[in-house]
């Protein structure tokens, strides 16, 4: 169980979405016993939660990047109205 949860946390959004679709399909087909049904429901619920949180993972930011001449980049906020 614990292992399963860890695996799900590392799933990409795309993989999580795919697994979720499989679960929905299996549950809708309805050919599983109650124990399996509950396990699938719980996994699906976790995946929905994970995907929803991924949608909010990244913070809104707009930046300008330039070669720093040392193999890296310099990053600074970009103010479009000032450019």
């Amino acid at each position: 169980m614990a292992k399963n949860t860890e695996e799900q946390q590392t799933l990409s959004f795309e993989a999580a979405l795919k697994r979720l679709e499989e679960i929905v399909e299996r549950m809708e087909a309805g050919e599983v016993d109650l124990d399996t049904m509950i396990a699938l429901f719980e996994e699906g619920q976790r995946l929905v939660k994970q995907c929803n949180s991924t949608l909010n993972d990244v913070e809104k930011r707009i930046e300008k990047i330039m070669d720093d001449g040392k193999g890296g980049v310099s990053v600074e906020p970009l103010d479009l109205d000032a450019e």
């Binding site: 959004f13 309805g30 429901f41 809104k60 980049v73």
Partner: protein, 449 residues
């Protein structure tokens, strides 16, 4: 100054006169020639000569006039160009020169021809092969943009992206999108993203958008340069190319993983709206709930049906029906025995007494067997009934646990055995079994005593 009837000029006066005359008489001109002695000083000004078979003309291209260099112009020795500018005199050196304001490669249709040649060449190399195209990410959250930091294009793209997905992290690599050196800047920016924003970096870009707004073939030329097409084709980060308008086609478009008709369209194509994702996930959640509810309802229906069956309402019915069968059977057996006795009596009067004994014994045995059968039948029925009632009770308990779905909130709990399966009966447990009990706010592990 007049000396002995001669008109004598100072050098400065004469030079000024020549300068005046040249500027008035020649002024602004177009000239054609070949570039030689091309040199760029650290000031950014470029000095060169334009020559043909018979003469040469000094020329200077000030750094501030770089925007006058037409796309596709190669500023190097041996290149034939057409230049426009003012003829003037550099007084300190006594030299006349052309101050170049515009310069373009010589020969009409040259650009289109170069475009086609380059396209053929890169095509033959397989740079545009469909097999090279990378799929675009399903959910891009870090987006790199290569375009001009000024003007409507970046503004529109940021607006469209923000409208579709409010919390995106956007990084712009500002470049010039036309004029000399623009192509090199664009290619370098694409490589910069690949070098510093790869999958293993702290800021792994999901997607690049490379482009600019509309313009003439000359304006868009930077996006037809080989270095841009190569940088885009080699990019490990998927690239959407958005150069000019719908009708413009560039080599950058061919090399990219996806071509968008305009920069705004590229922003539209790059990201699925956040709202669509949220709706999809909500829809999946609804489907999960409904499927579980359907299953629970179906189970409840089975229990209700079982409960309302006649045998559960009146379990004796089952026994009575069988008892009746036993009676019928015993009656028939009795008849048969009597018949046989009568036949025997008719046949042998003297055996009458013995037959009576036989008959008695037979009757006794039969009755004993019938009684035994009846007892066994009743016991079997009782057992089956008890088991069914236990199942019903178990199912009913489970249903109460499951429905409605937020049962845990009401203080119920789910108990699972060590294998993670739900525990339905104490019969599944023995002393020392580890169980986990799930309550509304977490779960607790315990051991059965």
């Amino acid at each position: 100054m007049e000396i002995a009837g001669r008109r004598v000029y100072s050098i400065s006066e004469l030079t000024r006169l020549i300068k005046q005359t040249l500027e008035d008489e020649v002024g602004r001109v177009w000239v054609e020639g070949e570039i030689s002695n091309f040199k760029v000083y650290s000031s950014g000004h470029a000095y060169f000569s334009l020559k043909d078979a018979g003469a040469q003309l000094n020329a200077v291209l000030f750094a501030g006039s770089r925007s006058g260099v037409a796309a596709g112009t190669r500023l190097e020795d041996g290149q034939r160009v057409r230049a426009y500018g003012e003829i003037t005199v550099f007084e300190g050196r006594g030299q006349y020169q052309l101050i170049v304001r515009k310069i373009e490669p010589l020969g009409a249709g040259d650009l289109m021809q170069r475009f086609l040649e380059l396209k053929r060449k890169l095509e033959a190399e397989g740079l545009f092969d469909v097999a090279r195209k990378q799929p675009l990410p399903v959910l891009p959250q870090r987006i790199g943009i290569v375009t001009s930091p000024t003007g409507a294009v970046i503004h529109d793209m940021v607006t469209v992206l923000g409208r579709r997905f409010p919390n995106l992290h956007i990084r712009l690599a500002p470049v010039r999108v036309q004029g000399a050196g623009a192509a090199q800047e664009i290619a370098a920016a694409v490589r910069l993203f690949n070098r510093t924003c790869g999958p293993d970096s702290a800021w792994p870009a999901d997607l690049l958008i490379v482009g600019r707004g509309g313009g003439s073939l000359e304006d868009l030329w930077a996006f037809n340069e080989e270095c841009v097409a190569r940088a885009v084709a080699e990019s490990a980060i998927p690239v959407i190319s958005a150069v000019g308008h719908d009708t413009d086609v560039s080599l950058c478009d061919f090399a990219a993983d996806l071509r968008a008709p305009t920069p705004s369209a590229a922003a539209e194509m790059a990201v699925t709206t956040k709202q669509e994702w949220e709706q999809l996930l909500a829809q999946h959640m609804r489907a999960l709930r409904q499927a579980l509810l359907r299953q629970v309802t179906a189970l409840r229906m089975r229990v209700v049906t079982a409960r309302s069956s006649r045998f559960f309402q009146q379990p004796r019915l089952l026994v009575e029906r069988r008892a009746q069968q036993v009676d019928t059977l015993s009656m028939r057996m009795g008849h048969a025995a009597a018949l046989r006795v009568r036949e025997g009596r008719q046949r042998t009067e003297h055996a009458h007494g013995r037959l009576r004994v036989v008959r008695e014994r037979l009757m006794h045995l039969t009755r004993a067997r019938i009684d035994d059968n009846a007892r066994r039948l009743e016991r079997a029925c009782r057992l089956r009934l008890e088991r069914l009632q236990a199942d019903v009770a178990g199912n009913a308990r489970q249903l109460d646990l499951l429905s409605p779905l937020a049962v845990l909130d009401r203080g119920y709990s789910l108990t699972r055995g060590p294998d993670g399966r739900l525990v339905r009966s104490v019969r599944d447990l023995s002393s020392g079994t580890e169980i986990s009990t799930q309550l509304k706010d977490g779960s607790v592990a315990s051991i059965v005593r």
